[in-house]
């Protein structure tokens, strides 16, 4: 068994072995993408519910694609189109889902801890597709997969996460996962966006972008969540771009092999300049492709898929 638990709630809960095991399977799925028939029918006759309580086009499409390639029956709920209203408690939601006898639940929710709650009360497997500002384990896994494709073993590699750490579930999943694999994580952003409390998780905090990226191997650039910030927490996009934007100037000073990542969707010319976003350092489309592979791997493994049946990668 590669995964010990029935759920994947966060990289906090996964061991280094589990992370590497999942990534191994994901890389085999990546190989399948290049074949003419890209589906693996392990999930035939099984129902996966994508429950997105918060809008997210990218993650939902990526999950759907992963599910389709595994031949699952897919049901989509989103807060906009379903009767699951804001006033309904998660417990009501859970009871409804339990009654539907589904095989797997993919949950995106605006509240931290939502996936954990559902995992506790539901018998089916639950994959956290993002809970508030807490964790986004599939994003963390796809980021790590992308880094490993470039660098192999991440021990001693320096990863700098830049941006709105306080609201970022991507940052937290990256921190847990990268720490477990022995990478060295630095957080960088305006002090109003980097909670000092995170230092206790074993990361460096550096407010000066130049210093933070000086000997970095990876820049993971987060989306500035404009909608979450009142004007009081940072002066505005122009100043942000000048102080923390990843521009050609910043990239020129990087180590030659360093890469630039972004979980998308990008605010071009805010956290990342268009030149960098389209430039040679970025690996953003690899991230997208790896995302599907990672999600296939998790669904496959949680459904009892046999790692050996996939053949060598």
């Amino acid at each position: 068994m590669i995964l010990k638990n029935k759920d994947v709630l966060g990289l906090e809960e996964l061991s280094a072995e589990e992370i590497l095991g999942v990534l191994e399977i994901a890389s085999r799925f990546r190989a399948v993408f290049d074949r003419p028939v890209r589906s693996v029918p392990i999930m035939r006759g099984r129902t996966v519910v994508n429950f997105f309580h918060e809008p997210s086009t990218r993650t939902r499409i990526s999950f759907e694609l992963a599910e389709k390639r595994l031949s699952a029956d897919i049901v989509n709920f989103s807060s906009a189109t379903s009767s699951f209203s804001k006033g309904e408690t998660l417990r009501d939601t859970a009871e409804n889902l339990a009654a539907m006898k589904i095989d797997m639940l993919i949950i995106r929710h605006g509240s931290a801890g939502a996936a954990h709650y559902l995992a506790k009360v539901l018998e089916c497997s639950v994959i956290n597709a993002g809970d508030g500002a807490h964790e986004h384990p599939t994003q963390g896994l796809l980021d790590i997969m992308t880094m490993r494709q470039r660098f192999g073993d991440l021990r001693g590699k320096k990863v700098t996460i830049i941006g709105d750490i306080s609201h970022s579930r991507v940052a937290r999943s990256n921190i847990w996962g990268l720490n477990k694999l022995g990478a060295e994580v630095t957080l960088c952003g305006p002090p109003t966006m980097v909670p000092g409390g995170l230092a206790r998780l074993g990361v460096n905090i550096e407010y000066d972008l130049k210093k933070a990226v000086a000997d970095a191997d990876v820049l993971n650039v987060l989306r500035i969540q404009l909608e979450r910030h009142s004007s009081k927490s940072f002066p505005g996009n122009r100043e942000y771009h000048r102080m923390y934007g990843i521009t050609e100037d910043v990239v020129r000073a990087l180590k030659p092999e360093a890469i630039v990542m972004h979980p998308g969707p990008m605010n071009r010319d805010v956290e990342i300049s268009s030149e960098v976003a389209d430039g040679p350092r970025q690996v953003i489309l690899d991230q997208v492709a790896n995302g599907v592979a990672v999600r296939m791997a998790l669904i496959y493994l949680l459904s009892g898929g046999d790692p050996g049946a996939l053949g060598g990668g």
């Binding site: 408690t89 929710h109 801890g113 937290r172 409390g197």
Partner: protein, 436 residues
């Protein structure tokens, strides 16, 4: 005449009890003599009076009826959470004989009629003395002042916009001056909302790790500092509600050393639990002010022990199961406290050596009664016969269906506490008796 629990006589003795009063637990057993709702006499050894029915206290501690300066009974407006009747029952079960109710009901308690209404509802319920506070501002909206004078004549014992802070320093200043002439305190729910923002738990390691918006200590510290300085300028009595930070303990310590008329309370949860409890995302650990860091918890406990903080108040805040089933960030703030306070005090303060039982009882009865000028809360000749009998060594498990409150949102569910109320009397009448 024989003692009978079924028909409590108007004159009776409670014998074989350890009297706990004026900060001390009696070493020898003694007795209490009740007559017509008042304490006729008390002392060590056996009573001399004969022919009076006697309740055998069987070695229990006999303490003044507990006094809680901070409860939310939700009536009117949210009777699904609690009413004066159910809240009074919870109070009696916790050993309380007097409570001070907060005015953040719906509508708010902001006029004489509402004050009278609460007192009447309390009398109907008959288990506990209800002392209402009035809102500082109409509708607790922070605009202008309510009729303090009128409400004091109707029985209001203080003023507060609790639930919300008073954002305007000018209004707070005027309220302090105005209330002082009427002989009642202003109770501050100290919170700078522009600092606290959308926070739902203490801002620190755990909020950062769990991905939840934090409530910085500074939001409470700066608000208390402002109000202390306003009280200094007004020469008025300021009472600081639910102190949760080491910074506030320090501000109050300094203010008291300077001779200011500042009093303060702390809740059981703030001297017993820290923010790591939020790790499972259970809304049972969501309160305002939030559970803070271990050094804050220790500072609050020490503050109670050395008298910087005068008393323990529960901030009993019932919520329905449904509300507490929302996700942490969506759930309302607040937990119940009346029925667990004594046990939490004994478990976390007395049995840990922070203070002795005499001091704990004083923090929960005599001192709060004194600082708010309330009747009861004293075991002495001529006083109201408000008293509680409890076993300070009795272990019990906190379970959801064990509560008298209409709500069971307790932060101690599943925990074993030490110290349990056996019986509560208010004005010589039995208001609660535990099943043995």
């Amino acid at each position: 005449m024989e003692w009978s629990w079924q028909r409590i006589p108007s004159e009776f003795l409670v014998t074989d009890v350890k009297l706990c009063r004026q900060g001390k637990l009696g070493k020898r057993k003694g007795f209490l003599h009740i007559r017509k709702g008042r304490i006729e006499g008390l002392g060590v050894g056996a009573p001399t009076a004969e022919g009076i029915p006697a309740l055998d206290g069987d070695g229990l501690v006999c303490a003044p009826g507990l006094v809680d300066l901070h409860v939310h009974f939700r009536e009117p407006g949210h009777e699904e959470k609690e009413t004066v009747a159910t809240g009074s029952r919870a109070a009696a079960a916790g050993g309380y004989t007097s409570v001070v109710t907060m005015p953040n009901t719906d509508p708010a308690i902001d006029n004489t009629g509402m004050i009278r209404y609460l007192i009447d509802r309390g009398k109907e319920a008959g288990r506990c003395r209800i002392h209402p506070t009035g809102a500082i501002s109409p509708g607790r909206e922070g605009q202008g002042m309510t009729e303090f004078g009128d409400m004091v004549s109707a029985g209001a014992v203080g003023f507060t916009d609790d639930g919300s802070p008073v954002a305007s320093g000018g209004l707070m200043s005027n309220a302090l001056k105005y209330a002082d002439v009427l002989g009642v305190p202003i109770i501050t729910h100290a919170e700078d909302r522009s600092i606290v923002g959308k926070g739902c738990m203490h801002a620190g390691y755990w909020s950062a790790r769990l991905g939840m918006a934090g409530m910085a200590r500074a939001g409470e510290d700066t608000a208390v500092f402002r109000d202390v300085e306003l009280a200094r300028a007004a020469g008025a009595h300021l009472h600081v509600a639910h102190v949760s930070t080491k910074g506030v303990v320090e501000i109050i310590r300094r203010a008291k050393n300077e001779g200011l008329r500042i009093t303060a309370e702390a809740t059981p949860h703030h001297f017993s639990l820290d923010h790591s409890r939020c790790r499972g995302y259970s809304p049972l650990f969501k309160m305002n002010p939030p559970l803070r860091e271990p050094d804050d918890v220790n500072a609050v406990a020490e503050g109670l022990a050395d008298g910087t903080l005068d008393c323990i108040a529960t901030d009993h805040a019932p919520h329905t199961v449904t509300e507490k089933e929302h996700q942490f960030d969506q759930a309302p703030f607040g937990v119940t406290g009346l029925e667990t306070a004594l046990g939490v005090g004994i478990t976390y303060l007395v049995n840990t050596g922070v203070m002795d039982l005499g001091r704990l009882v004083q923090c929960m009865s005599e001192t709060p009664a004194r600082i708010f000028n309330l009747p009861g809360g004293r075991l002495e000749e001529g006083a109201e016969a408000d008293f509680v009998l409890f076993d300070p060594t009795r272990k019990w498990k906190v379970v959801a269906d064990g509560f008298q409150s209409r709500s069971d949102n307790s932060a101690y569910l599943g925990e074993t506490l030490i110290g349990r109320v056996a019986a509560t009397f208010r004005g010589g009448r039995l208001t609660w008796r535990a099943e043995s």
